[in-house]
């Protein structure tokens, strides 16, 4: 071909906007403090394996300090504070998040490995939106449908994952604070930095000491938080396995619990779908954030008459995805967050091949350093294979086919999970019918992976329980009438 290729030059976002400290303490009672009984660990950039900073590991003593501080703040400051006053703090936090959005986006992409276009256009704006939205509720709780004077629960212990580190912190903190609770937040071990920057923002907003405490660490830190008797409510987002452990450990206690766990969502494409947009939706459903999304559309169910064409179009589209430096503004696919996750994705993908599915990836050079996995498509997948049942949590799509709507419903529901689903068709009545039959907390119609703070999000069955966002999400942070 004599036409020259339009090869985009590197367009990296500047790192200089982020001021990384060599070492971070725990954010307890409004200040950064050294851990009492924990050590330190390093957090690295998954795209370059460069060590970004040293972070404190909170031990049981640190958790106790944080919970005590949160209790005092709840009883003396935040609990008694009128809702309209709490709202002012939340509005302020939202505005500072917007003001410091570039800094937050760059830091998130550095620590997590996600492309800057996603942290810039999705994670950070949604973070601000969650604070804005819940700030609005803080003085209107009496009108939320939970009685004339709904009460907060108390001290909440919140454990969040590494896939949307900042956004998940916002999902947890904003409704809890709006409802009048205080918080001890435990960020994920591999992605603690944006939560620590958020702590600085909370300081900047003059949030009273102890209202939010952020204790970094690994799984043991989270376990200590969940187990602490001073915690009234536990909110966890993460793997189903850990979610089950938490539920077991809380059995018999008076603690409230909400869980947002894994998924194996079906993205169902009917033969009358707007196919060009369906292809985009499939790509967005599974390759957004490298597939590190609990509601990812990891199972494509496509109706047989269009299956061949859709797969062909998908392959062409995957060929145009740009994998590489997360800070490059033209990057579509970033790095896998950790070597452990990369191993898991590799193991499950290999099992797909071993079990007879056909594996395909576009020609795609992977950077030498860092953790990378090419966008991958499996065709000829049958429901009995592991890649059709287990959550891969990576950029791997399993393509299955169906013939009739009922078969699509059956196959989509044939999973232990129930977090999300997608339906693609130009027929409005079919959308409504499918939405009523699909056992999933979220059903997207002719779109996928769209989030809004006003829209409740959460799952069925092994995807957890409780909702985040919207009026329903407030319920998780208010005492219900049944609590007495």
């Amino acid at each position: 071909m004599d036409v020259p290729r339009f090869d985009y030059s590197p367009a990296p976002e500047s790192r200089s906007v982020v001021n990384l400290k060599p070492s971070y303490g725990l954010f307890i009672d409004g200040d950064f403090v050294d851990p009492m009984d924990g050590g330190h660990f390093k957090t690295e950039s998954p795209s370059s394996q460069e060590v970004l900073a040293e972070v404190s590991s909170g031990g049981p003593g640190d958790i106790a300090r944080a919970v005590t501080s949160a209790r005092r703040a709840f009883e003396e400051v935040w609990g008694p504070m009128p809702g309209k006053e709490r709202a002012k703090y939340l509005f302020r936090v939202a505005r500072i998040v917007q003001e410091r959005s570039r800094e937050l986006a760059v830091l998130e992409s550095l620590d997590n490995g996600k492309p800057i276009k996603e942290s810039r256009d999705v994670d950070v704006p949604l973070t601000a939106a969650h604070f804005f939205y819940h700030a609005g509720w803080a003085d209107k709780l009496a009108y939320a449908g939970f009685g004339p004077d709904p009460k907060p629960i108390g001290v909440t212990g919140q454990v969040i994952p590494w896939n949307f580190p900042l956004l998940m912190a916002a999902w947890k903190l904003a409704p809890a604070l709006a409802a009048g609770n205080t918080c001890v937040l435990k960020p994920a071990e591999t992605t603690p930095l944006s939560a620590l920057l958020l702590a600085e923002i909370l300081q900047q907003a003059d949030l009273p000491p102890g209202v939010v405490n952020i204790v970094t660490g690994a799984g043991e830190t989270g376990a200590a938080l969940v187990a602490h008797p001073g915690v009234d409510k536990v909110a966890f987002t993460g793997s189903t396995e850990v979610g089950k452990q938490i539920q077991r450990s809380l059995a018999g206690t008076r603690k409230h619990l909400t869980l947002e766990l894994g998924g194996k969502a079906a993205n169902i494409v009917f033969d009358d779908a707007p196919l060009s947009q369906a292809v985009e939706g499939i790509v967005n459903g599974i390759f957004f954030n490298q597939g590190h999304v609990c509601c990812a559309g990891s199972r494509l169910l496509v109706q047989e008459p269009v299956a061949e064409g859709v797969v062909e179009a998908l392959k062409r589209r995957l060929g145009s995805l740009r994998l590489g430096d997360p800070l490059d503004k033209n990057t579509d696919i970033g790095a896998i967050n950790s070597p452990q996750q990369l191993d898991k994705i590799r193991e499950l993908s290999d099992s797909g091949e071993a079990e007879g599915a056909e594996r395909w990836s576009p020609a795609c050079a992977l950077p030498e350093r860092g953790y990378w996995f090419p966008p991958t498509l499996f065709t000829g997948v049958v429901p009995a294979q592991r890649i059709a049942r287990e959550e891969i949590f990576g950029p791997v799509l399993s393509v299955l086919t169906f013939r009739a709507p009922e078969e699509a419903v059956e196959k989509a529901n044939n999973t232990t999970y129930g977090l999300s689903a997608g339906v693609w068709t130009e027929k409005g009545s079919r959308i409504l019918h499918m939405a009523s039959r699909l056992r999933a907390g979220v059903v997207w119609a002719n779109t996928f992976n769209r989030f809004d703070p006003s829209s409740p999000f959460g799952g069925y069955r092994e995807s957890g329980f409780g909702r985040e966002g919207g009026r329903h999400g407030l319920a998780a942070y208010l005492q219900s009438a049944l609590d007495g």
Binding site: V3, F6, K117, A273, S276, E280, P305, V306, E312, A313
Partner: protein, 332 residues
């Protein structure tokens, strides 16, 4: 995709003999009924999704070497246009000078693709561009409204071709299209194509009047089946003119048509494209939707007038590191 649906539909009507080629396509469109069935069998366009995709491609960041390449490529794709009642031979002649050497101070700047004028000014443009690579394009067929009888439209085309136009930009009958008379629209395109002889035919859909992306997709297919060498968004006389989502739908159409028929059709966007940033966004769209094969003046054009000076200004800024003044570039 489209092509898949087309294959499926075609397979339903003529299972044994479907080959790949324009003949089969024109047979598919042999009757008003089969044409309608085909056009309405094309997958729909979801408005929200199409606009989101176009918006996300608009965030591509084109810098450094890629930007320089894109600016020169965009210059070479311009149909430098003047379509005013007040056009004079003098105005067209000065436009031709600009088209041949957009920046007299820098001979490395490529010539534009074509000069686009009303058909009565074709002789002026022809002599002004003699010896250059720049083509003469004439709008015809009762441009811009297209409200005239077929014989008047064909006479208009014949005039332009006789005067030496290398390219003819026709408008479709939007009234007939919106009334669902697809066969009439197709027949006109075919007749104009025949009247063009060896001149290349650009078919203007006037997407601003078609109202939906589904219509844009159907009109694109009618034009391609009718023999268009290019499908073009707009006359520039109706708002909205070219938009990124419309271009996205049309680029998908030419891509799918090439898959189905083997014929590669070009796309021209026109109207409201004034800045280098706009132009580069269209190039990104071409690159990522249709493919790099379309990234040249033989398959992608930008109809514009003021865009050229902005491209020249950005070009000199990229090379010299500082913006030139607006008086450093000629105004026609």
């Amino acid at each position: 995709m489209n092509a898949q649906a087309a294959r499926r539909l075609a397979a339903q009507s003529r299972p044994a003999t479907l080959g790949r080629g324009p003949t089969e396509l024109s047979e598919l469109a042999a009757s008003e009924l089969s044409l309608r069935r085909f056009l309405h069998g094309l997958p729909g366009v979801d408005q929200v999704g199409a606009e989101a995709r176009a918006a996300s491609l608009a965030t591509r960041s084109i810098k450094a070497g890629a930007k320089l390449w894109a600016i020169d490529t965009a210059i070479s794709m311009i149909d430098l246009t003047t379509l005013e009642g007040s056009d004079t031979p003098g105005k067209v002649a000065s436009l031709c000078g600009k088209a041949r050497h957009p920046d007299p101070a820098d001979p490395a700047v490529p010539a534009v693709a074509a000069v686009c004028v009303y058909s009565d000014l074709v002789p002026v443009a022809k002599s002004g561009l003699e010896g250059s690579t720049v083509k003469v394009a004439a709008v015809a067929t009762a441009f811009p409204s297209g409200r005239a009888s077929l014989s008047v439209k064909l006479a208009d085309v014949a005039d332009a071709v006789a005067a030496g136009a290398d390219e003819v930009d026709m408008v479709i009958d939007r009234g007939a299209f919106l009334a669902g008379r697809y066969g009439l629209v197709l027949d006109e395109v075919r007749a104009v194509k025949e009247a063009c002889g060896s001149a290349r035919l650009k078919v203007i859909l006037e997407t601003g009047e078609l109202a939906t992306y589904d219509n844009v997709r159907r009109a694109s297919w009618i034009a391609m089946i009718g023999g268009a060498d290019f499908i073009k968004t707009s006359t520039g006389k109706v708002a909205p003119a070219a938009t990124l989502p419309v271009a996205l739908v049309m680029l998908e159409a030419v891509r799918d048509f090439a898959d189905l028929s083997g014929s590669v059709i070009g796309v021209k966007v026109a109207g409201g494209i004034r800045t280098s940033k706009d132009a580069i966004r269209y190039l990104v769209l071409v690159n990522e939707v249709a493919g790099e094969e379309w990234l040249g003046p033989s398959l992608f054009r930008i109809g514009a007038s003021s865009l050229l000076n902005d491209l020249l200004m950005q070009r000199s800024k990229q090379r010299r590191g500082a913006y030139a003044g607006s008086q450093d570039f000629s105004i026609e």
